[in-house]
C-alpha cells in the first residue's frame, strides 16, 4: 500500500521536526502543567478532592495544550510554503491529514502522559481503582479531539488566521467529549459502577463521525 508508506514517511518527517524543535514541545508541556497547578491552587480544599473535578481540570489542560500542538504541527507546513511542496507530491491529500493526525496524537499522548500524573498528585485523585478505564476513556476522547483539531488547524493555517481562533473553534465542538468523559469517569470513580455503555458510545460515535468527515473534507479544502 503506497499510501501507508507515504503516511509513515510524512509522520517520520513531522516527528523528526518535533524532536528537532524540542523546546517548543517543552513549552506546551509546561503550559499544561501550569494550568493544572493554577486550578489546583485555586480549588484548594473545597470539594475539589475527587474524580470529577480532577478530570475536568485535566480536560482544560488537554484542550489548551492540544490546541497548541495542532497549531504547531500545522505551522511547520505554512513556514516557507512547505505545504505546496507536499501538495505537489503524487499522493492523495487525505494522506496529509492522516499523517498530521497521527503526529498530533503522538504529541497529545506525550501531553497526557506528562500532565495526568500532575493532576492525580495535586488532586489526590486515586487512579489506581480503575486506571484502565481512565486511560481508555481519555484516550478515545483525545482521538476525537485530535480529529477535529487537525482538520481546523489545516483550515486556520491555510487562511492565515490568528492562533487563538483555533482554540475558540475546536473547544465548543469538543464539549460532547468533555461532558461524556467527565460524567463517565465520575460514575466509575465516585460511584464505583462500571463503564457506562451509552457514555462510551457518545465518545466512540464522535470519533468515528469526525474522523471520517474530517478526512473527506480536509481533502476538499486544503490548498497552498
Amino acid at each position: 500500500m503506497i499510501a501507508l508508506r507515504q503516511i509513515l514517511l510524512l509522520l517520520g518527517k513531522d516527528l523528526r521536526i518535533e524532536a528537532r524543535t524540542r523546546q517548543a514541545l517543552a513549552l506546551v508541556l509546561v503550559l499544561g502543567i501550569l494550568i493544572v497547578v493554577v486550578l489546583a491552587l485555586g480549588l484548594q480544599g473545597g470539594n475539589a478532592r475527587g474524580g470529577l473535578s480532577a478530570t475536568a481540570i485535566l480536560w482544560v489542560a488537554y484542550l489548551f495544550g492540544g490546541a497548541m500542538c495542532f497549531e504547531k504541527t500545522m505551522a511547520v507546513e505554512t513556514h516557507d510554503g512547505a505545504l505546496a511542496g507536499l501538495l505537489m507530491a503524487p499522493m492523495d491529500r487525505g494522506v496529509i491529514y492522516l499523517s498530521k493526525l497521527l503526529a498530533n496524537l503522538v504529541l497529545m499522548a506525550t501531553l497526557a502522559i506528562v500532565i495526568t500524573p500532575v493532576g492525580v498528585v495535586l488532586f489526590g485523585f486515586d487512579l489506581s481503582r480503575a486506571p484502565l478505564a481512565f486511560a481508555s476513556v481519555v484516550g478515545a476522547s483525545l482521538i476525537g479531539y485530535a480529529a477535529i483539531g487537525t482538520l481546523f488547524s489545516g483550515l486556520v493555517a491555510s487562511s492565515r488566521l490568528s492562533g487563538g481562533l483555533l482554540a475558540v473553534v475546536v473547544f465548543p465542538l469538543s464539549l460532547p467529549l468533555v461532558i461524556a468523559s467527565t460524567q463517565l469517569l465520575k460514575g466509575v470513580f465516585e460511584h464505583g459502577n462500571a463503564l457506562d455503555a451509552s457514555a462510551m458510545g457518545v465518545i466512540v460515535a464522535f470519533d468515528v463521525i469526525f474522523l471520517t468527515v474530517s478526512w473527506i473534507v480536509f481533502e476538499l479544502v486544503i490548498e497552498p
Binding site: 483550515l155 467529549l177 461524556a180 479544502v221
Partner: protein, 226 residues
Amino acid sequence: MSSSTRKLVIRAYWIVTLLVLAVGVWLSAYYAPIESEMGVIQKVFYFHLPAAFCMFGACFLVFVAGAGYLWQRDQRWDDLADAAAHVAVLLASVVLLTGMLWAKKAWGQWWTWSPRLTFSLILWLLYVVYLILRASIDSAQKRAMVCAVYGVIAFLDVPLVYLSVKLMDDIHPSSVELEPSMLLTLIVWMAGVALLTAGLVAGRFRLARISHKKSHDASGVTGGMA
C-alpha cells in the same frame, strides 16, 4: 415578478407574521389556562419551545448551505449560511434568556445545568463561534470555504451534544401535559416564530446578495438571484 408586486408580497408577509404573533400574545395572556403544577411561569413555554425548534431549523439550514457550498462552490450558498447563522444565534439567545427567566422563577436561580439549558447554551456557543469565524476571514472565497466546513461539522456535533448532555443528571425534570387550549396557543406561536425566522433569514440573505452585487459590479461574477 416586478419590484412593486414583490414589495407588496413582502409587506403582506410581514403583516401576516405580526398578526399571528399578536394573536399568539393574546392567546398566551388570556386564553391559555395557568398550568396547575408550574403556575404562571409555564406560559413562557409557548415562546421558548417554538424558538428552540426554529433555532434547530436555522442550524440545519446552515448545514445544508455549507454542504451546498462545498458541493457547488456557489456564493449564494454562503450567503444563505451567513443569514441562517445570524438568525440561529438570535434564536439561541432568545431560548437561553427565556430559559433562564423560567429557571429563576421556577427553581430560584438563573442557571441550572439542566440538560435543556446546557444544550441551548452549547448551541449558542457553536454558532456564535461561526459568526466569529466568518468575521475573521477577509478573503471571500476562503471565508466561504472555512465557514461551510464549520457549518457542516457544527451541525454533526449537535446530536452528540444532545446525547452527552442527557448523561448529566437532570435535577428538575419538567414535563408538561398540554390541554387542547394550550396546544392551540403553542401551534399559533410555532407558526408565528417560524414565519418570523423565515422572514429574517430571507431578509439577511437578500442583504448579503445585494452587498455582493454592489461590492464588485464590474465583473458581475455573482449573477443576480431572484
